[in-house]
Symmetry: C2
Subunit: 456 residues, 2 copies
């Protein structure tokens, strides 16, 4: 019988397994999935909300348990780490982390979905006790357990999405929170003008933000436990607990050893059907690189939504169907307390780096008709190519019901719309939902004015 | 000096005037705008919320007063009705409704933006006292004034958007409300399966819905005041007050008399720059017909968002610029209490009528990650062309933060996307905003399955 081995039991790996199983029954295809942790198919993005208490139980974050996958005839082996791949021999070497035994498992097709590993700043003390990650469900459980009554001061290293989400979670729990980030504004994927709004919102929550400063050391006490974070500028931030939220990098060590080629971004190189360059080896999720449809560059974007889609594509193709993953455009969204932020396409800095000449325009409007109760402020910023007016990027910051509008602009960018086309879009209007000119359209109008001004 | 006369001082007319003024100063262009009512540039769509009390003051609904327009060098003449147009002589005949005097005003260019008139069912009693419309700000003021303590029972004729919005407004004010509609489900622009959700929501508010039944008579008392609504099926619904919410038709009487050609839909025929077939005569807003980009038909869609866009386009062109209005795709949204509904493109019935062979797919999901507090139910229904999979239409019903997602699908339809392309879209994801597969993507997946099933 044909044998499919999957490395990694989260979104990408299990989507691939499930899709393949949907198309090929257990009498046609045997599927074995290895997962280092205890859980499968869980929402890592939900961990900050589990830490804050908004989500009460770990099980709520799990979409499909190992048992559920097994009922679907997928042989899931949790707490089992794949420690070697032999592409020529068509085998993987697996290690049962509980029993410590190692064994070999043959495959015809392999899906490499090993996800990512947290980036660790190369500073002294980074491996000390009291320093936590927030990447896996097991990480989340460890951090939750560590947040005892003795913990009062938390320092978060990294002011990106995850860093801020965890900062808010800790703040909600009544802790004194400091976030350290190298950039002059948090969430560096936003232009500084939008980042300033985010910074204000974070500070408004009572979270201390230390910006434009780098962590130089995690100081430890006599027991070797983290007790403070030191920065390049000389700050010494006392900490009962340190959380690393500096992002992730693709978990490719095993693939690299096995000779599965990586791409220029450091992620595994795959084609649009999620095939690696090694025959019969597929890859999906946080460990692969994708094409950015605007810059043309290969990029690694660790996001559950891409992992799910890529896994699905791999699984359909493995199951004898045809599906493709046509790339990403850098859409992202988050919420810091009641401030919502989102982006898609290229920021000004990214447009610059990609060699575009551009104009940008920002407008302030409201989420509902101005007179309608509950109308909230929203700022929409667009980046458009000079001369052609092609929409290159969008950023939104606002309150309730603001940020999800980014999807309209993501769809417009995906379709290579120009801002004058965007402003003709037949978007929905009623006073509880939008001003008569939706903020997206007002922004397009202003961007179009900026494009036209270039010709005068 | 070049003279521009505008008939109608609301969204379309005043947008045209303002855009023309922006491009041509008062030394180049004289602008006179006639408005029958007291107000200019107001939100008719906001009237139900003024009636409910959610919007407190009439002024809140007014974007720009006559005085504000006058400061912008637009000679606004309120309470002045244009009673005749002589296209050859290049004059209009205006009647001052306060003083009763008539006079002639010359024009070089004319913008006809007379809006719409409420449809009135051709039944006895429709013109009786106690029967109200909700179309203009003056209508709204009259209805508000009529809702005295003596009024307890209100019957609304018509269960479309406006009918339901007014029904809810009256219900909020503590009145006993009955809505009568000819269709078997309210808001006929939705497929019956979605309409059933709306009906349930409306009834859940305590509003009585009389469906699949037509008004046969508005009965009057000895004073000639409306006192009951009788229906074809023999129902007699007592009413202290009757509201007509059966929709509107384009206000074209004056244009027709003047020989300005109408189109097949009964609206004024315009090209994509908002020119009528009469030289130097432009038209915009509820009185014109637009191209439906999916059916190819000419349609009249009375919506503030189109009126604003069309007025802007006419004004830019009048001001020497170049702009076009490329048509509509039938996007609409409303809210009945906490149930949100929206649609875009073609419903099943409309797809049928337009000659498409189609499949449809509906999915139930949540507005946020299922485990995230505040996640609400959302149903997304898609209509896609058989064989090609081209997205033809979408309908959404749900609670908080559900319906505005229709804009993503409107943008997808606008760009002629196919459902398999939709499901690859890089839409934003974070647990407070969406499940990892946004409901829009889940619906696209199911629609794609339906398309593919046709080939098996």
């Amino acid at each position: 019988m044909h044998r499919l081995v999957v490395i990694g039991g989260d979104a990408a790996g299990m989507s691939a397994a499930s899709q393949a199983r949907k198309r090929r029954g257990p009498d046609e295809l045997q599927i074995v999935a290895f997962e280092r942790g205890r859980a499968t198919s869980y929402s890592a993005c939900g961990i900050p909300y589990w830490i804050s208490g908004a989500v009460e139980r770990e099980e709520q974050l799990v979409t499909r348990t190992p048992e559920a996958h097994r009922r679907n005839h997928i042989d899931v082996r949790t707490r089992t780490e794949v420690v070697g791949i032999d592409v020529d021999a068509r085998t993987v070497r697996a290690c049962d982390l509980e029993g410590g035994t190692e064994y070999t498992e043959p495959f015809d097709d392999l899906v490499y979905a090993a996800g990512s590993v947290p980036a660790r700043p190369p500073v002294p003390g980074v491996d000390a006790a009291g320093v936590y990650g927030v990447q896996t469900l097991d990480d989340g459980a460890a951090l939750r357990a560590a947040l005892t009554d003795e913990v009062h001061r938390v320092v978060i290293v990294g002011g990106g999405y995850i860093g801020l989400e965890v900062a808010e979670a800790c703040q909600v729990r009544g802790l004194a929170v400091t976030v350290v980030d190298r950039s002059p504004t948090p969430v560096g994927m936003f232009d500084p003008d939008i980042g300033t709004f985010i910074a204000d919102a974070v500070r408004g929550l009572g979270i201390e933000l230390v910006l434009a400063d780098a962590v130089s050391e995690i100081a430890t006490d006599a027991d070797g436990r983290a007790c403070a974070v030191h920065t390049s500028s000389g700050r010494q931030l006392p900490a009962d607990l340190v959380v690393l939220g500096v992002g992730v990098r693709p978990n490719v060590a095993l693939a690299r050893e096995a000779g599965i080629p990586l791409g220029p971004s450091g992620g595994i190189a795959v084609d649009h059907r999620m095939r690696t360059e090694a025959p019969g080896v597929w890859a999906a999720g946080d460990c692969v690189e994708s094409i950015h449809r605007l810059s043309g560059q290969r990029v690694v974007v660790a996001l559950g939504t891409h992992a799910n889609k890529q896994g699905r594509v791999a699984g359909i193709n493995l199951g004898g169907g045809y599906a493709t993953f046509p790339g990403v455009i850098g859409t992202a969204i988050t919420k810091v307390c009641d401030v919502e932020v989102a982006r898609t396409g290229l920021s000004e800095a990214e447009a610059e780096a990609a060699g575009y000449r551009f104009v940008s325009a920002a407008v302030d409007s409201t989420t509902r008709a101005g007179y309608f109760p509950g109308a909230q402020p929203i700022r929409v910023k667009l980046v458009a190519e000079k001369r052609t007016g092609r929409l290159l990027g969008a950023q939104i910051v606002g309150r309730d019901d603001a940020a999800k509008r980014i999807d309209v602009l993501a769809t417009a960018i995906w379709n290579e719309m120009h801002v004058d086309e965007v402003l003709s879009l037949d978007l929905s209007y009623a006073p509880p939902f939008s001003p008569v000119w939706d903020p997206v359209l007002i922004a397009a109008r202003k961007a179009q004015d900026a494009v036209e001004a270039e010709f005068r």
